[in-house]
Amino acid sequence: MLFMSSRCCSSIRPRLITMAFIIAMLAAEAVQAYTVYVSSEKDNTITVIDGESLKVLQKVAVGERPRGIALSKDGKILYVCTSDADHIEVLDLETLKVTHVLPSGPDPELLVLGPEGKYLYAANEDDNMVTVVDVEKRQKVIEIQVGVEPEGMGISPDGKWLVNTSETTNMAHFINLETLKVEDNVLVDQRPRVAQFSNDGKQVWVSSEIGGTVSVIDSATRKIIKKIGFEIPGIHKESIQPVGIQLSRDGTKAFIALGPAARVAVVDTAKLEVEKYLLVGQRVWNLAFSPDEKRIFTTNGVSNDVSVIDVERLKVKKSIQVGRLPWGVVVRP
């Protein structure tokens, strides 16, 4: 190989080594192509970011107050809760045009797509309902009555359970999607925001924004295994407000966005203990993994940016300016 050549003169060698180093770095940094979409509550836009260059490609105008976003299973469509427009907008990701809207009930905030890709579940904060929408027929299928101010929604990997949190009732409601009955209610700390199943479906993680904890619930027994608390030197407990949760595919790590504390907590899922806090932008709420799970993207509402976390090194790599008040984030492979 070229740079192994013994004939190479000493003056050229350092340059070659440098080049080799750069090539090696590039290979290490090479990531599969993907795109990041971020909703901006204040600007009424979706910011499109290239996952490789981490450059903003475009800002797409959508309806009033876009918050929760979800990707279709084939990755061709982005569903956007435009809360003040009282519906869900369907954004074609090829043309970046809103093709149609779906009924959602009033003030939809957060939505999840069932694993079959056919049903969207949207939380309606105003009327204590979870609305189920058939995305193909473009119709509301049913409304399920839940607690006061429903918000977080997690669907089990097998699609059998929907866990919905209600902010004023302080509960995680386990809704059986076959019978559509609420089968269990687990009391968690104040103002639960996000519910997220582990990839094996055995646990549900629920963040309590005002309580300042994340409850890890056993999906089978519906008992809380542990409430994870957070402590950051120099930051008052009241400012530590967990919201977004992402669990790695291999089940070893959880990343939890801590709102005004401007930190993402990295949790060892075996011990259920925080191993590190990463400094990100201000008022961090939601997060999303890249497809290879080498990076995490966070939405920082007050600093109007997205932080990019290197998952292997557990370092914050970059921040990207996006539209004002970034809220939701998804990554399309």
């Binding site: 904060e125 105003d126 009555q145 097998d158 004023t168 609420v182 209610n185 009391l187 009241e238």
Partner: protein, 412 residues
């Protein structure tokens, strides 16, 4: 995947009405969140007829049920949680005539077995009730009296305050004015004792946060009827003459009964902003507040009552939610047990203010962020950035532990 074919799913959804009923039944059966057996918790609201307040502005409604509507919203919220935990909450609202004795009303409610009370009365009546032997084993929430003395001197172990004190409001305003560096105040004080009390709180706040009251005047005009034709010509002249004083940064008005404060803005001799009871106003709650999920809360209230929530409504809601939260977590309705939980480290409540609210263990005051409002939009929220405290920055508002004679006590 639930192995459901689309057809199967369709069938399911057609059973919608049946399912919904089954669902509600199921909620009661599966109330697994708490081990509590079915428990009905009675909460009394004790109010009395007050002098009818007609706001200076036609845009503001005459409210004669302040406090009660907030308490009712709290009961509704508690009962939604209650359907999952097997607890139900009932409000016993009692409003007595202005010449009747609230003590008798209290004793009567106590005889009926009520131990949890929202007291919607002035400070002197509140203390009389708190000192009754029957009140010893009860838990009282002050939702109306802002008097600082209740937080510094007239300490009662069976009493909690959800309404902010005047000192808290004044400090909230003063912190913001420090940030603005509007340090020279022109203080205008109304003719009632509560206006003087508010002025005292403002003076204390000015001293605490490095402001100077450069001018003070008392507004002594007796108000006539609220609505008159051509009234504005008089106000234009009066205020212009009244405010001819040396220079200042902001006019701070203490007019809790809303008799003249509204007249000052745009009519002062110097072109200066107005704050205090009018203009830039510190408040526990306001129709203009829509952050931290407050929008839904506001809409729920407005839809039901056709008006916006007052400070007293919000304070009543806070009291009912405090009871609800304590009852859910302790599975109890006993006043002593609830008080113990409420005073413990474990208690905190989400209150649409962006951070948990808790009670001060020395004087039972609910610590909370306060809003700085203008008539149409929110201006800021205090505590302001940079005002630090060794325990919680919320304790930079009002009387801190060392400034109060009240000491931590267990209910007697």
């Amino acid at each position: 995947m639930p192995s459901l074919e689309p057809d199967d799913k369709k069938k399911r959804f057609h059973r919608f009405p049946v399912i919904l009923f089954a669902l509600l039944g199921g909620l009661l059966l599966h109330g697994a969140a708490s081990a509590a057996a079915a428990l009905n918790i009675q909460i009394a609201l004790l109010s009395m007829e007050e002098e009818r307040h007609i706001p200076l502005s036609l845009l503001e409604p005459v409210i004669d049920d302040t406090g009660q509507m907030g308490a009712e919203q709290g009961i509704r919220d508690n009962n939604t949680t209650g359907q999952f935990t097997g607890q139900s909450f009932t409000l016993v609202a009692t409003k007595i005539d202005s010449d009747a004795s609230p003590l008798e009303a209290f004793v009567k409610l106590h005889e009926q077995g009520v131990r949890l009370f929202l007291v919607n009365l002035p400070a002197d009546r509140l203390i009389e009730i708190a000192d009754l032997p029957q009140a010893k084993e009860s838990l009282l929430f002050n939702i109306a009296a802002r008097d600082d003395e209740l937080r510094t001197r007239l300490c009662r172990p069976n009493l909690l305050h959800t309404i902010p004190s005047r000192a808290m409001l004044a400090d909230a305003l003063a912190q913001y004015l420090t940030w603005k560096r509007w340090n020279e105040w022109f203080l205008v004080i109304g003719r009632h004792p509560q206006d003087k009390a508010y002025a005292e709180a403002l003076k204390r706040a000015a001293k605490r946060f490095g402001h100077k009251i450069v001018e003070t005047r008392e507004w002594t005009f007796v108000p006539g009827a609220r609505r008159t034709d051509s009234g504005h010509t008089r106000e234009q002249e009066e205020v212009n003459a009244f405010t001819q004083v040396g220079d200042y940064d902001i006019l701070i008005v203490a007019d809790e009964r809303d008799e003249f404060g509204e007249f000052l803005n745009y009519r002062s001799y110097l072109p200066r902003p107005v704050g205090g009871s009018h203009g830039l106003s510190p408040a526990a709650w306001s129709a203009v507040h829509e952050q931290w999920g407050a929008t839904q809360f506001q809409r729920r209230f407005h839809e039901k009552n056709g008006r916006w929530m007052s400070d007293r409504d919000y304070s009543a809601w806070l009291a009912v939610r405090t009871i609800g939260e304590a009852a859910t977590r302790t599975a109890s309705d006993r006043a002593e047990q609830l008080k113990r939980y409420i005073s413990s480290e474990d208690f905190n409540l989400a209150a649409f203010k962006g951070r948990p609210v808790t009670y001060r263990d020395w004087n039972g005051q609910l610590r909370q962020p306060l809003l700085l409002t203008s008539p149409r939009l929110m201006i800021s929220v205090s505590p302001q950035k940079g005002f630090l405290h060794q325990h919680t920055t919320l304790d930079t508002l009002g009387f801190d532990r060392a400034e109060s004679r009240c000491k931590k006590q267990q209910p007697g």
